[in-house]
């Protein structure tokens, strides 16, 4: 008589390219990779700050003005924005707010947070530089 326990297991497993099958899977992987850039950028800034601490503000600024660092910063800015946008959206997905009989949608949280980001960024830049 048949007994499936004797048979080799047949199971469709994840292939290395699993994340290419679906727009959402791909967005997820890119989102996860962008954390790498956020982390690297943070490390670079910490290193730069250590230059300031051990030397002078000029050392830090020279470090930042290095073309490679500028190049990396631009790339990192782009990825960090991507990261922020996806996380703002997720914030909306995991914390829906009840309004009347319906709930807020994730894109609404995204817009709200982007607006907050712009406002806070402007205020920060104004305090730091423009004042």
């Amino acid at each position: 008589m048949g007994d499936t326990k004797q048979y080799p297991e047949i199971r469709k497993r994840l292939t290395p390219g699993w994340w290419t099958h679906n727009r959402r899977y791909a967005n997820y992987m890119v989102r996860e990779w962008t954390s790498l850039f956020v982390a690297l950028y943070s490390l670079l800034i910490i290193y730069g700050l250590s230059l300031w601490f051990n030397g002078s503000e000029t050392d830090f600024l020279n470090f930042l003005k290095n073309p490679a660092i500028i190049g990396f910063s631009i790339v990192a800015l782009f990825f960090t924005m991507y990261h922020a946008v996806t996380w703002f959206y997720l914030l909306g997905a995991v914390a829906p707010v009840k309004i009347g009989r319906s709930h807020t949608k994730p894109w609404q949280a995204l817009i709200l947070n982007l607006v907050l980001l712009v406002i806070i960024s402007y205020v920060a830049i104004w305090i730091a530089i423009l004042r």
């Binding site: 048979y7 047949i10 199971r11 469709k12 497993r13 699993w18 997820y28 997905a93 995991v94």
Partner: protein
């Protein structure tokens, strides 16, 4: 008059005969309001009686008929042929599960997880039935009612790459059901369930892919349940740090 025909490509696997799965093609007469399940039933009754799949209610509430239709985890009773581009549709068993035969997959892992999370009302003291129902407000009901809609179809496990990589992951449906009980005002079993959902392969294994909530046919939103479980776990941990004796 030539009849409209649809081609169904089904992944077959019969352990007694086949060493590995293969694709078999069938032609079925096409009607606009046909679902994939209708096509499978037509094949089984008119063309090939050996085609094997699960189904029962045909209205999307029993959860039997999960499969991968054109690469997407879906209930075959809710997948209308006209949703798919062209007249060729691929039907495979749900990924991430061992295949028993054709489209039938092994559900035992999920059944074990179901028992593990203790999906019943846990109370310190049961009120006798004579005293009437536990009162629950509409608001209290709303906190968990969405998560009580799970039909155990397991499409979420088929969609979750974390589960695909690690079978030990508690997974969307089980965690959502655990949360359903945690947030039910009548339940007092937080302390019993927390260790289970907050263990290594519990809620924390989730990295917010979110595909589970996309494929869920009943709008349960297991991703939301998992994140809420994490929030509860985190606040609970902080509380027990600040107030080690008491303060529940």
């Amino acid at each position: 008059m030539s009849q409209d025909i649809a081609t169904i490509r089904v992944t077959r696997y019969r352990p007694e005969k086949d060493s590995k799965p293969f694709v078999q093609e069938y032609k079925v007469p096409y009607r606009r309001d046909m679902v994939v399940l209708d096509a499978l039933n037509y094949i089984k009754s008119q063309i090939d009686g050996s085609l094997t799949y699960r189904w029962s209610c045909r209205m999307g509430v029993c959860g039997s008929c999960g499969a991968s239709v054109d690469g997407k985890p879906k209930l075959t009773c809710e997948s209308f042929l006209h949703e798919f581009k062209g007249r060729t549709i691929t039907v495979e068993p749900m990924p991430n599960f061992p295949v028993i035969k054709d489209l039938v997959v092994d559900m035992e892992d999920f059944m074990e997880k179901l028992v593990k999370i203790k999906p019943w009302i846990i109370r310190e003291k049961e009120s006798p039935v004579e005293e009437g129902e536990y009162k629950q407000s509409a608001k209290e009901l709303e906190r968990y009612s969405q998560f009580s809609s799970c039909i155990n179809c397991m499409l979420c496990y088929a969609a979750c790459p974390i589960y695909g990589l690690n079978e030990k992951f508690l997974g969307p449906a089980a965690t959502a059901l655990a949360y359903r009980y945690i947030d039910d005002s009548r339940d007092q079993g937080k302390d019993v369930r927390f260790p289970i959902v907050h263990e290594m392969e519990g809620a924390w294994e989730c990295t917010l892919v979110g595909e589970c909530s996309v494929v869920c046919p009943k709008g349960v939103d297991p991703m939301l349940a998992i994140q809420r479980t994490k929030i509860l776990g985190a606040t609970n941990a902080v509380k027990s740090l600040l107030m080690p004796r008491g303060g529940r």
